[in-house]
Structure formats: C-alpha cells, structure tokens
C-alpha cells in the first residue's frame, strides 16, 4: 500500500524549479511565524536587569534561568494545572468529536427530512448569543457545574462552525453511491456512518479534532467564570489571570496604596514569557499528531475493494 502511494506521488511531482520556489515561500512564511515565538523563548531566558536596561534583544548580554525558577516555585500548582489542561483537552476533544460528527452527519444526509431546519438551528447560534450572565446562570444554576471539570468541557463541546465544516467534508468526500451501496447491503444508518462514512472523512475529523484540541487548550474564559477551586485552574487561565492583573494594576496606578503594595508582587516580564513558553510547547506536538490523519485520506476505491 505505502509503496503504491509513494509511486503515485512521484508521478505527479513538481518540477525542481517550482519545488525550490514553493519551499522558499513556505519557508519564509514559516520563519515569520516561528520567529516571534523564538523571541519569546529568548526573553524568557534573559536576565531581568539586562532586559530592563537593554530592551528586547535577540542575543541578550546576560542569560538567566531565574524566570523558570520563579515559575516553578509554585510547584504542585503548576503541575496540577498542566494536569487539568491535559485532562480537559483530551476528554473535551473526544466528547466534542462525538457530538459534532453525529450532528454534522445527520444534516449532511439528503434523505434527512429535517436537514434544513437543523442546519439553520445550528447556524443561528453562531450569530446570536445571550451574553455572559444568562450563560453563567444556565451552567451554574441549571446544570450545577460550578467548580466542576465539566464546566470547562461542556460549554465548548459543540460549535456550529465546526459542524458546518465537517458537514461539507462528509458531502464532498463521501459519494452518495457509497451510502446507497451500504443500504443495498442491508446496513443501518448507524452502521453506514461508523463503517463507511467515518473512515472516508478522516481528514475532516482530524481537522475538527485539531481545532477543538487547540480550543480546549487555549481556553481560559470558562475557568475565569466557573472555577474558584485553585486546584482546577487550567494553565492558560493562570497565564491570563496574571496578564489581566498586570493591566488592572497599570490602569489603577494612580491609586497609591494599591500600587505601592502590589507592583512588587507581580511577576516580571521574563517570568510571563516563561509561562507562555511552558503553556505552548506541549501543544505544538498536537499538530503533527493530527497531521497523520490528513495523509491517510483514503481513496474511494480502496474502501470499496
């Protein structure tokens, strides 16, 4: 199988000239994207005093591990928030893939009589929202999820945007003929979905899986609203709390008693950058993980066999 694929790829290869040009374009853009992040890494390893006097430098005059020492002072709290983030991301991605793939499949089927209704039902939610307070009341007073890990998972579980993307993947990559042939073989809707449709839409599922993984990983807002227990605060939320507190202190710097007591206790630039690095590095590996499924997009012929 892999042998055959390699051969196919050779077959429609770019000419060397174009290949170099394409590599150059992609390489330059990728560099532009990576560079700021590298800079963040460098700042996190810069000596605080050097940073204050020289500003941001690509090669600082003095390196330091102090920022990481500061961040790891919190010890178990940091590890715990890693744990929370990983748990929420893993469970959340699975839950939302189940919800989304089912919903999207139903509204992708032309034979579904309520197809238009449920499509509009989903799209409408992208455009209108009731705001923070009513949502808070639903989550805390109706669902009773305050201080529960589920308050970090459920509010992000379904997303009309992802549903519409996945619906399109189903429609474009699963020919009607396959579903019909499944029906003729006597398979039920659910069996067709699991055995025929899902394998054919792996790139689509991987895309949505990737998006929701990133969505869960980066989410800090739900924790701000629903989590009081310091042991359940995810990583990004810890980072955002520090950033918004810094801004608050800056905006209220005229309040003398406040600024006097607090400016000292805020982490310094380098420590914040170290937090960014710690919060980002693990998730970078999520992309290659999902990428595997992009290339595995099978051809129609190979399923039919």
């Amino acid at each position: 199988m892999s042998n055959v694929q390699r051969k196919k790829r050779d077959f429609h290869r770019l000419t060397p000239g174009w290949n170099v040009a394409f590599n150059l374009i992609a390489g330059i853009f990728a560099f532009l994207c990576v560079f700021p992040f590298l800079f963040v890494v460098i700042i996190s390893f810069t000596d605080e005093k050097t940073l204050a006097s020289d500003g941001y430098r690509i090669i600082p005059a003095k390196w330091s591990l102090e920022a990481y020492r500061y961040v790891f002072q919190t010890g178990d709290l940091l590890l715990r928030s890693y744990g929370v983030t990983i748990l929420v991301t893993a469970v959340g991605t699975i839950v939302s893939l189940v919800f989304i793939s089912l919903y999207a499949y139903a509204i992708s089927r032309k034979s579904f009589s309520y197809r238009r209704f449920f499509s509009l039902f989903a799209v409408f939610t992208m455009l209108f929202n009731g705001g923070m307070i009513p949502t808070y009341i639903v989550v805390t007073q109706l669902l009773h999820l305050k201080d529960s890990i589920w308050a970090l998972i459920l509010p992000l579980a379904v997303n009309a945007f992802y549903i519409m993307i996945l619906r399109t993947f189903y429609v474009t990559s699963v020919p009607d003929a396959i579903i019909e042939s499944g029906k003729i073989d006597g398979a039920g809707e659910f069996r067709i979905f699991v055995r025929l449709v899902l394998p054919l839409s792996l790139p689509g599922l991987a895309t949505i899986g990737l998006f929701s993984t990133l969505g869960y990983w980066n989410d800090w807002f739900n924790a701000l609203l629903y989590i009081d227990d310091p042991n359940k605060v995810p990583l990004q939320s810890m980072l955002m709390r520090i950033e918004s507190s810094m801004q608050f202190l800056q905006q209220n710097s005229a309040n003398s008693s406040l600024s006097l007591e607090l400016l000292q206790s805020m982490p310094q630039d380098t420590a914040r950058m170290a937090m960014v690095v710690l919060a980002t590095v693990p998730i970078i590996f999520a992309y290659p993980f999902f990428q595997r499924y992009f290339v595995q997009g099978l051809t129609v012929g190979s399923v039919k066999e």
Binding site: A52, L143, F190, R241, Q250, N252, L260, E261, L262, S265
Partner: protein, 494 residues
C-alpha cells in the same frame, strides 16, 4: 448480528443524548438545604465575603481561625472568596447579576465600581444598620469617609480607614538628582521642573528625564466629576460651575508646557501609548515622575526600587470622591444576614485581633509578634499575602518591623491636613445621558493621552478635541451635571 449492532448504535446515541439531560438534573438535589437556616439564633450564620486580590493558598485555613474568633464574638462564621485583580470587576458583575449568594462585597472606584453599582442596586442601603450595629465604626474612622461615600444621600458601604486626601508629588530618583546637584525641594509647579529636566537631558541622554504612562494628566486645581473625564469644578469654586477642563486657562497652559517638554525630548517618545514604566524604574534610568503620596511613601518607594527616592509636593492634599472611595466594603443587596454582616464589619474595623488576623494570618504560623503592636512576617506568610488596603481599617494594624512608632499618627496628621473638594459627596448620575457619555468617552480616549503627555501640539489639537467633544454631546452632559450639582448644592450646602 446486524440487528444487534443496530440496537447497540441506537443505545449509544441515546446515551450520549441523555448524558446532557442527566447532568442537568444531577446536582439539583442539594441546593435548597442551606436556605432555611437564617433566623435560628443559636446556630452561627455563615457570611460569604468577596474580596479582590490574587487568591492565596491559606485563605481557608486562616478563615477557619477567623471563624472561631467571630463565632465567639458575634456568633457568625466567615468564608472568604478572593477574585484576582484583573478579573474582579467582570466576575463580580456576573456573580451579582446572577444572584449568587454573598454578604460582603469589596468595591472601589477601580474594582466593581462603588457609585455605579450602588445606584444599580447591587448593595444594601445601610443608613439604619450603621446606626444600630455600626457605632464602633462611626467612632473609629474619620467622619469624612462616611460623609464622602454617600450616594444620593445614603451610605452603601464602609470605607477603609486609611489615607484620606489625595496629594500629588514629584518623585525624584535621588541618585540622578544628587549626581547633577539638582535642588529637588524647591520645585512645585510643572514649569518649575524645566531647569532640572534640561540639566539631565544635556548630561546623560540615556536617562528619561520625565517618566510617565499614558494615564498621566498634569495637575490643575480642579476636581473631576468622573475620573479623567473633561467635566470638572474648580477647587476654590464658590459658584459650583461645571466646565470642560480643556477650555480652562490652567489646562491650556499645562498642555503647552507638556508639549514643550516633549519636543525638547524630556519625555519618552512613546509616552502616549506606554502602559508601564517599570523597566525604567528597575533600571534606575529616570529622573522624575508624578505620583500620589501618603505618609512614609518615600521609604516604601525606596525599599521597593532598591535605591533612594525622594518627593516634593506638587499639589495640596485634597479630599475627593475618588480618594474617599478607594476601598469600600458593602453589604450585598441579596444578603440573607445583613445585620450579622454589619456586626462583622463593625468588629473588623474596631477589633485589632480580628483585623490583624484577616490581614496577616495566624500568629505563629504566618507572623509573630515582636512587640506590643509590632509584628514580623514568617516564611509561611507567602501563602497568605493579602492587600491591606482592601480589608478594612488600616489604623489598627500592627506595625511592621521597620515602621516608625508614630506611623498611624502621621496618617492622622495627613488626613487632618486634607482640604475637602467642593463637590465631595456629589456623585454624577449619567444614566439620562448614557449614549452621549459613550460617545464622549470615545472622543476622550482618542485625544486625551496624546494631549496630556505633550505628544501633540495643543495649538492645533486642542481646538479639534474641543470641537469633537461638543459634537459628541459634551454640552448636554455638562448641562445635566450642572442641574444635578445645583440640586445637590441646594440640598447639602449653606
């Protein structure tokens, strides 16, 4: 086979569907239990106290100790919930709106705004409670605090007893000032700074002579109706006239001077967008800035920067609404136990044992006493590091190791020296002109920082700004403010 699979599939889909419904019903069993216990006088009531600050690890541990003490004194226990600085306003808005149970709420001009939320009904009006259970407070704290924090004639919270007036000072980096033999004690006005700035600029171009953030506003002898909005009343005003601050001669003069300083390079080129100057302060590369002071501030500044800082007054100490409303504890409108909450606030503001426990934690664990009213933090205090200003009467706090004996005497003297602003106690209600206010705010944000930091030339920009303010409806806002102020003067002055 196929049928069984089909059934399994059906079941799976149903289960996922049900999971939502179930989780909806799951927790509902235990919510009604706590409600009925309010009036039973034997059972201690539990007070829920929301306050600002980075959540501390040992809060619950300390509150257990606090509860033991308060249970004995007033038959109440205390639960404290801390919300981080930057999240406080937003989260409290949501919590209060959704009717979350709470009894005591920290509020201030900057965090969950006191006046606004008092008017919106978030806090209980406490005039009667204060008379009945708050006599201790009335004796313990400066009366200006209570009179100055009235909203539409009523009290909605207990201000923390601390520095009362606000006074601006010029702060100097003493190392730099000494190096060039600058006389820092004789300056006062904005104009008087020029020779100092010039000397430093000419001798050391790596130093920023005049440091400021984008929130800088040159001092003029007016009091603002709303912080940093152009509506203001002159401090020595007798006719209580509300005016656009940008049209006053004092402000015009100040802006001209600022622009002169900016073009001369005394001010950092990006001052109008600078949020923080801590990097300059850490590096010590600055000569002077403007700040609000309080007694012993120079010592605190010097200690926190690690080099000597000295200051010279730039204004008189003025008691304003903002200075009075810097830190207030209110009782929530939905409190189940308002009387107990008031009793607790009374105790907190008068009883040094309770107040210091809330502030510094458990004696022997977080701090130890090293004198009659003097204490020293222990290493564990890193797990209970609280902002003193937000937790009630500061003047009954134990002194720190290095504090002078007369620390609180100095505060009392400073407070006594405060001159009340003519509009102390008047709070503008902008509800009627809300849409004009939104537009005016946007114009303000557009012009304010670049004018105030001297980045732009006031000769061309000031007329533009004034015109846009008028178009946004500033005149209507001023007229509304004036009529409210006139009514207030008629009722309160004479």
């Amino acid at each position: 086979m196929s049928k069984a699979k089909k059934k399994a599939g059906f079941a799976l889909a149903s289960v996922t569907a049900l999971s939502l419904v179930l989780s909806a019903c799951g927790g509902s069993g235990n919510s009604n239990e706590a409600a009925g216990s309010g009036d039973n006088s034997d059972k201690p009531v539990n007070l829920i106290w929301y306050t600002i600050g980075t959540p501390q690890k040992d809060v619950n541990k300390v509150m257990e100790e606090v509860s033991k003490y308060t249970k004995e004194k007033i038959n109440a226990t205390v639960t404290m919930k801390m919300i981080d600085w930057g999240d406080y306003s937003q989260k409290m808005q949501v919590l209060v709106s959704s009717g979350e149970p709470m009894d005591i709420i920290f509020t201030s001009a900057g965090g969950f705004d006191y006046v606004q939320n008092a008017r919106k009904g978030a806090f209980l009006q406490i005039d009667d409670l204060l008379d009945k259970y708050g006599q201790g407070i009335k004796n313990a704290i400066d009366p200006s605090f209570l009179s100055g924090s009235k909203v539409d004639g009523h009290n909605y919270g207990i201000p923390a007893n601390k520095e009362l007036p606000q006074q601006w000072v010029w702060r100097f980096n003493k190392n730099v000032a000494d190096k060039y033999n600058l006389d820092t004690s004789s300056v006062r006005s904005l104009e008087s700074l020029e020779p100092l700035l010039k000397t430093v600029k000419e001798n050391d171009p790596t130093i920023t002579p005049f440091v400021m953030t984008k929130d800088f506003v040159p001092y003029v002898p007016y009091d603002y109706l709303i912080t940093n909005m152009p509506l203001a009343v002159k401090l020595d005003s007798t006719d209580y006239k509300v005016i656009d601050i940008l049209e006053t001669d004092e402000m015009k003069q100040a802006l001209k001077t600022m622009h002169k300083y900016y073009t001369a390079g005394y001010i950092a080129p990006e001052a109008a967008t600078t949020g923080s100057t801590t990097d300059l302060e850490r590096a010590g590369k600055w000569l002077l800035d403007m700040a609000q002071t309080q007694p012993l501030a120079d010592n605190l500044w010097s200690a926190s920067y690690g080099y000597p800082v000295v200051s010279t007054p730039a204004s008189d100490p003025i008691i304003t609404n903002t200075s009075v409303q810097g830190s207030i504890m209110a009782i929530s409108a939905n409190s189940e136990h308002p009387e107990k909450a008031m009793e607790f606030l009374n105790l907190l503001n008068t009883d040094p044992v309770l107040r210091n426990m809330v502030d510094s934690g458990i004696e022997g664990t977080h701090y130890e006493k090293i004198g009659d009213n003097r204490m020293k933090n222990l290493p564990e205090s890193k797990n209970y590091d609280m902002p003193s200003y937000s937790l009630g009467n500061n003047m009954i706090l134990y002194l720190n190791e290095n504090d002078p004996d007369d620390k609180w005497e100095q505060f009392k003297k400073f407070n006594a020296s405060g001159i009340p602003s003519p509009i102390l106690g008047f709070n503008f209600d902008s509800t009627k002109v809300a849409s004009e206010m939104a537009a005016v705010q946007n114009v303000k944000e557009q012009f304010w920082s670049s004018l105030m930091t001297g980045t732009v030339d006031p000769d061309t920009y000031l007329p533009k700004a004034i015109k846009q303010f008028k178009e946004a409806g500033l005149d209507k806002v001023i007229a509304e403010a004036q009529s409210q102020l006139d009514a207030w003067v008629a009722a309160n002055k004479k």
